[in-house]
């Protein structure tokens, strides 16, 4: 059961290298992508003044200003607004509105909560203003479009919509509209997923299973299979054939821990401890899921080319837990040095 490294469905494992694989990656991982190193999200620099007036909805005062995307009621009643709305509908019900590009039971909004608005849930308004950017995962400068293509390839375990497809236009338009008034090239507070500190104890499968049974199974099923109502997934599958694949950002234990700690269960975000979040993320991502579309030659080679110490691809949970421990210790030693700031147009992530 715990053998994620050997499960290769023929239809995915045998898939030819998709032409988009080179520069695709999943939006799920956006948080992890910019946060693989453990530096805290830098505040919006005071000297980076947006060219446009600040967003109308932004709260007036105090501390690090949270960007607030426009309200849904502000979608214009014109052709542009119709495209925004189509993008939103694709985002919320990807199963229905972008069916041709989806290969599993997921919807974009499963991981980007509040229809892509929620801070610490990889909000679209924060992602939009960070592209184009160079990414280690793809080893090239990605645009927001190629980034979205990655979401479909990995998180949706499907195929990438063409750059000039209606679906792509609608999704980009929805991103753009949500980011109205946000400064370009600035990492906004709430971007990506929460970075959860290294837990006191090495992440543990048995504890993770306990956390899962007590907090997650009611919605995601005893075996992570999700729950359907009237033939559609009401709660998404967390592993197995209808879940995200091994290239998706959410398969990273650090990214999943951040998402879970900030957002799960619904209404109870922030109630799991950091330890519980890491434990349950390890448990969730120790299971089988569809093959990494970048698979080539062997699991070991694919792992070494595309996966790092936060990935259970081709690693046992025990090996991963130990490597997290070593990495965290190294990071603690290095913590004396000041963290390097995000360089414009550069994302430090290794693989996601």
């Amino acid at each position: 059961m715990q053998s994620p490294n050997i499960w290769q469905r023929s239809e995915t494992g045998g898939r030819k290298m998709n032409k988009f694989a080179g520069y695709a990656l999943c939006v799920l991982a956006l948080g992890g992508m910019l946060g693989c190193d453990k530096q805290p999200p830098p505040p919006v620099p005071a000297d980076v003044a947006p060219a446009a007036p600040p967003p109308v909805a932004a709260p007036a005062a105090a501390a690090p200003t949270r960007f607030t995307p426009p309200a849904e009621s502000e979608i214009p009643q014109n052709e542009y607004g119709e495209m925004v709305l189509l993008g939103k509908n694709i985002f919320v019900n990807t199963q229905q509105h972008a069916k041709a590009y989806v290969g599993n039971g997921m919807n974009c909004a499963n991981c980007h909560l509040d229809n892509g608005r929620k801070a610490d849930s990889a909000p679209l308004w924060a992602a939009y203003v960070l592209y184009p950017a160079y990414r280690q995962k793809t080893r090239q400068v990605d645009t927001i479009q190629s980034r979205i293509q990655g979401c479909f390839l990995y998180s949706m375990n499907g195929k990438a919509p063409a750059l000039d497809s209606k679906e792509m236009t609608a999704l980009v338009t929805y991103h753009y509209w949500l980011a109205k008034g946000a400064p370009t090239g600035v990492k906004l507070p709430g971007q990506g997923y929460l970075k959860v500190a290294k837990p006191a104890l090495t992440p543990d499968m048995a504890r993770g299973r306990g956390v899962y049974e007590n907090n997650c199974a009611i919605c995601h099923g005893a075996n992570g299979e999700g729950i359907k109502a009237r033939d559609e997934y009401a709660f998404p599958p967390l592993w197995g054939k209808d879940s995200f694949n091994w290239g998706a950002g959410m398969h990273r234990v650090d990214t999943a821990a951040g998402f879970i700690q900030a957002n799960m269960p619904y209404g109870l975000g922030g109630t799991l401890s950091d330890q519980e979040a890491w434990d349950v993320a390890l448990f969730m991502n120790s299971h089988e899921r569809p093959q990494d579309p970048r698979f080539k030659a062997s699991v070991a080679q694919t792992r070494d080319t595309h996966h790092d110490e936060n990935c259970l691809y081709g690693r046992t949970p025990e090996a991963l837990a130990a490597s997290i421990e070593r990495t965290a210790e190294a990071a603690d030693k290095a913590a004396a040095k000041p963290a390097t700031e995000q360089v414009e147009g550069y994302s430090p992530a290794l693989s996601h």
Binding site: E72, N89, V92, N93, L113, D114, N115, R117, K118, N214, N215, I218, C219, I227, A229, R230, E232, A234, F235, P265, Y266, G267, L268, G269
Partner: protein, 214 residues
């Protein structure tokens, strides 16, 4: 397709109900001597009664239904009328009434007299929630059509507003505590009285309607 299936299903149920074979169990129509007949408050069809605040029971997942009866018996859910009735119900009574109501068609929505602005506010909460104050949309857990996700999440679309209000208030005040993992408590605590009334009025308008979450 779905509505066709639903209509076909309804027709089958109506046909079946008209034959003696599908007569409702006696606990529904007559009670058991100690427990009042379910139908006296909830109707044979499980439509409930809006003015009195008796909930609609049609389409409740049997496991959810059985849990509520068990909780009334155990005292982990209380109600001045329902508690003694549940205590007088046998296990067989609970099972047969659960099966019966699960098989009844979803209630039709009555015409709402609520202010359209109130309905709109409720609709927004049900579909979009208010994540900024930790209120997920109702439909995130009760399904995009509000018809529930068996076994743990009951249908809420088409429920009488009076009943929905009373339950949200009960979770908010701590009078009702039998929700799994405090999932309803934490939501209700973050709802204002206005929110509660708005969302209840909106849900009451839904009846048989289809998916709204788009």
């Amino acid at each position: 397709m779905r509505s066709f299936v639903s209509h076909t299903f309804t027709a089958v149920v109506v046909m079946a109900a008209s034959s003696a074979a599908a007569a409702p169990p006696s606990i529904i129509t007559q009670g058991n001597g100690a427990a009042l007949a379910c139908a006296s408050c909830h109707g044979v069809d499980g439509a409930g009664n809006a003015p009195s605040g008796f909930p609609a029971l049609a389409q409740l997942p049997p496991a959810y239904f059985a849990k509520q009866i068990a909780d009334f018996k155990a005292g982990t859910r209380t109600h001045p009328v329902m508690t003694p009735i549940a205590q007088a119900m046998s296990v067989e009574d609970a099972e047969s009434s659960a099966r019966h109501y699960a098989s009844q068609p979803h209630p039709k929505a009555g015409a709402s007299t609520a202010d359209p602005a109130v309905i709109a506010r409720g609709r927004n909460l049900a579909i979009n929630g208010a994540w900024g104050r930790q209120v997920p949309p109702c439909f995130k857990c009760h399904a995009a059509d509000g018809l529930g996700v068996a076994p743990a999440f009951p249908p809420i679309a088409g429920q009488h507003a009076t009943y929905t209000v009373s339950q949200l208030q009960a979770w908010k005040t701590g009078a009702r505590t039998n929700d799994p993992q405090t999932l309803m408590k934490v939501v209700a605590e973050n709802l204002s009285e206005e929110d509660i009334h708005a969302v209840a009025e909106y849900l009451a308008t839904l009846g048989n309607r289809g998916k709204e979450n788009e």
